[in-house]
């Protein structure tokens, strides 16, 4: 089976690890070989969380520079920071709602201009799907559902060997019952947003 490599980057607390575990469950349900690794040293202290998911026949659990087929960023500056994982064929999906690093808040550094950020990514990669996932999550009734919105968008691209049904079934198994409806709604809104961007 062909290998597909996905990188997810997020700020601690954005639900990256849950999104990864949903995709893992979906792969398990669908009989797709999967390996993934995560780096979450001090995530709860505001750091960056990176997950690498390798679908198909490969043994490695990490993804080298330039090797990602798909990069999904839950925060725009973090998407740009992870651009070294991309090549000219990579599809990039990013949330456009920034979370200011405290270094910017205390005046040590300037947050990148969002229009320039998108232009840069667009110029270097095959495709950029960019939208405000935080707004869609709120629309779905769960402001913490940014991860589910982006799951919808990445599923829509069809790059991963997983169908929307697979992922939704995995969501039912892996996410809290009380949030399931809003999560499914968030997924659909993300799916549609990616369709419109296409």
């Amino acid at each position: 089976m062909e290998t597909t490599r996905l990188i997810i980057v997020a700020v601690g607390g954005q639900g990256n690890l849950l999104a990864s575990s949903v995709l893992g469950e979906a792969a398990l349900l669908n009989g797709v070989p999967l390996r993934m690794s995560e780096i979450h040293g001090m995530a709860q202290r505001g750091g960056v969380v990176e997950s690498a998911l390798v679908f198909g026949d490969a043994e490695s659990t990490i993804i080298s520079d330039g090797e990602a087929d798909l990069l999904v960023g839950f925060e725009p500056a973090e998407t740009l920071r992870a651009i070294n994982k991309c090549n000219a064929e990579t599809t990039v999906i990013t949330n456009l709602a920034p979370l200011m690093p405290f270094t910017v808040n205390i005046g040590q550094g300037v947050y990148p201009d969002l229009a320039e950020l998108q232009n840069l990514i667009r110029a270097k990669t095959a495709k950029l799907i960019a939208f405000n996932a935080a707004k869609l999550a709120e629309e779905a009734g769960n402001p913490l559902g940014v991860n589910m919105v982006l799951l919808g968008a990445l599923t829509q691209t069809g790059i991963l060997p997983l169908s929307a049904e697979n992922v939704k079934e995995a969501m039912e198994r892996k996410t809290k019952k009380a949030f399931l409806d809003s999560n499914l709604k968030a997924f659909d809104l993300g799916f549609k947003a990616a369709e419109q961007a296409a």
């Binding site: 398990l28 390996r35 993934m36 709860q44 750091g47 490695s60 090549n87 205390i106």
Partner: protein, 623 residues
């Protein structure tokens, strides 16, 4: 029921490496487990902690790694299968016992798990603990995949019983924190009660006994080597003349490279999963079938040096390379592309790596380093220390220790100058105070104090050093994910049957002449108490008590009432310049407080010169 207790052999589960290891231990009938938490090993213990609340598995958070090792050693010598786990530097703490337990041995199987951290994702060094196997003369197993991680644990227990020796199980972060689909095996029943047979002439290593035991250890090593020669975890694949010897996660990168470079017909791969003692015959036969050999191992050239020595002794002269310029490095973790590139270069195969995008025009992206949480009491204590020091006009040195509070290193707090290892704050403080004229103020967390801070403090009292030790007591082992420690009241988890050790009582019993307990969220009072402690000549201790704000939130111990910056603000920015709490942000040149992040600690409100920071009037705005 805990998912790892599911007795459904053949079922496939998506597991984190650390879950797979815990599952492997359950399948092996482990009955006694102990740890001191440390990334990347912590989730193994979390599984045991959870499962021990549902079944007769014993688990404990021990005071430090040495104690975790000792309790497990006693259990294994009483015929109960035991396992202790720790991060790589934790094995340094347990090493004293490890070296001699190798002489004494065990009755039931015992695994000592070390989680190494190449690249130092969350560690202070990247020492290669494979060397401990050699130093102690103990067998070592190293998984390459998540399935391996599970399957090797029952094997390690059986091996330990066969040899009557503890077995070292060595992982790296990319095993602990990777996930994969794992096929479950059968669960062996647990034997939780054992019996200890007295055998002082083999169990008490006075010199005459130890001399005899060392002979036994070397014999055991020979036996172990014989087993390693035939181990199912030492695998040769392929029939080519290009040899690659590898271990751990490097094996995955080698396999992917062999496929990607399409050199399966030319390459021959030896993966050592049972890596110490090394299977000499297997390796020599491998070398004899090759024209040139590459050793792919992260960290130190452990296999490389051993293989070269074997070849020399056998008179085999083929090129054997591993570390070196244009080859592999002793630094950090490997990436698959790095390994593929070196393999291609060494064997002369064309390789076109996927070209990463050009990064030359990417603007500088502001860093997002981890920081003390919004409302973290360490920030308050550090600010109060800074204020007290400023008011007294003293020059300081700040030895610090290992925990969240190490993050005091960053400005504007800048309260970390020197750190070596767990517990070093108190010890190094004594040395600094002896040879400099600066005021030495050392910081240590509650869990670290119990772990190894106490001897340094006793040393200071006995040798009449002159420093202030600030014990940052947030009531939990915060950084590794909120594990309990001996100072924690376990009733708050609804857990019965635990004791509780008071830090203040310990400090007073040691005979510290000046002890103050402060509530760091009360700024003025705390500064006064700190000034008194700093002025005291000799050893003074400040215990700064306030629950970890993340933990308090999780346990719903606090009702958060956020604050806001009102119109009275004259933009002095003391709040930002002294505290820089992550709940602050700048909006239209003014400081604002994010009500979703503010925990209502009110520390900024107390330092605002205009008293402009007040409780937010309306109800907390939704996120």
């Amino acid at each position: 029921m805990h998912k790892l207790l599911t007795d459904n052999p053949g079922e496939q589960m998506l597991l984190l490496g650390n879950e797979a290891i815990a599952r492997g231990a359950i399948e092996a009938g482990v009955a006694f487990t102990s740890t001191y938490p440390g990334t990347p090993s912590s989730e193994i213990s979390l599984q045991f902690f959870q499962m021990s609340q549902e079944c007769d598995l014993y688990f404990e958070y021990s005071t430090n790694e040495k104690t975790a090792f000792e309790v497990a050693a006693a259990a294994a010598n009483s015929n109960v299968r035991s396992m202790c786990m720790m991060k790589h530097v934790g094995l340094n703490v347990a090493a004293d016992g490890l070296m001699t337990l190798a002489y004494i041995g065990v009755k039931a199987g015992m695994i000592v798990l070390t989680a190494d951290d190449p690249f130092m994702f969350s560690s202070q060094n990247e020492q290669d603990n494979r060397i401990y196997a050699r130093l102690a003369g103990l067998p070592m197993l190293e998984p390459s995949s998540i399935q391996d991680a599970k399957d090797m644990i029952p094997y390690a227990f059986d091996l330990s019983e066969k040899l009557q020796e503890p077995v070292i199980f060595r992982t790296t972060t990319r095993i602990n924190h990777s996930s994969g689909i794992v096929k479950l095996g059968k669960i062996k029943p647990r034997v939780t009660k054992g019996n200890y047979t007295k055998d002082p002439l083999n169990h008490v290593p006075v010199p005459a006994v130890a001399r005899k035991l060392h002979v036994k250890l070397l014999k055991n090593l020979d036996t172990a080597q014989g087993i390693a020669e035939k181990s199912e975890f030492n695998i040769v694949e392929g029939k080519g003349k290009w040899g690659i010897i590898c271990n751990g996660v490097s094996y995955n990168y080698v396999r992917d490279a062999v496929t990607d470079l399409d050199i399966a017909d030319s390459a021959r791969v030896l993966r050592l999963g049972f890596s110490h003692p090394m299977p000499d015959t297997l390796i020599l036969n491998f070398l004899k079938a090759c024209e040139k050999v590459l050793i792919v191992e992260e960290g130190e050239p452990v296999m490389e040096e051993a293989v070269k020595a074997m070849a020399q002794e056998e008179g085999i002269t083929l090129p054997i390379k591993g570390k070196g310029e244009g080859l592999l490095t002793r630094l950090y973790e490997f990436s698959p592309a790095q390994v593929e590139n070196v393999i291609a270069g060494y064997f002369g195969v064309p390789y076109e790596p996927k070209e990463a995008v050009d990064l030359s025009d990417i603007p500088e992206i502001p860093q997002r380093p981890p920081t003390l949480c919004a409302g973290c009491s360490h920030r308050a204590t550090y600010h109060e220390i800074n204020k007290a020091v400023e008011e007294l006009g003293v020059e300081t040195i700040y030895p610090t220790d290992i925990g969240c509070y190490t993050l005091g290193l960053l400005p504007p707090l800048s309260t970390a100058d020197f750190l070596v290892c767990m517990g070093s704050s108190a010890g190094t403080a004594g040395g600094f105070s002896q040879v400099t004229d600066k005021k030495v103020i050392a910081f240590i967390g509650d869990s670290t104090f119990f772990h190894s801070g106490i001897p340094g403090l006793i040393n200071g009292v006995f040798n009449n050093h002159n420093f202030t030790l600030v014990i940052l007591d947030n009531g939990i082992t915060a950084m590794t994910g909120h594990q309990p420690h001996p100072g924690v009241d376990m009733k708050q988890f609804n857990m019965e049957g635990y004791g509780q050790v008071s830090i203040e009582a310990v400090v007073r019993a040691i005979g510290v002449p000046h002890v103050a307990v402060i509530k760091p969220n009360k700024v003025k009072k705390s500064i006064e108490a700190i000034k008194e402690a700093i002025n005291f000549k000799g050893i003074s201790v400040i215990i700064s008590q306030e629950p970890c704000v993340l933990y308090a939130k999780a346990l719903k111990l606090t009702k958060q009432r956020p604050f806001e910056v009102t119109d009275k603000c004259k933009n002095h920015r003391d709040c930002m310049n002294y505290l820089a709490c992550p709940a602050f942000y700048v909006w239209n040149e003014r400081i604002k407080i994010d009500p979703n992040l503010c925990t209502g600690c009110a520390v900024c409100a107390q330092i605002c010169p205009e008293n402009a920071i007040l409780p937010l009037k309306k109800k907390k705005v939704p996120a």
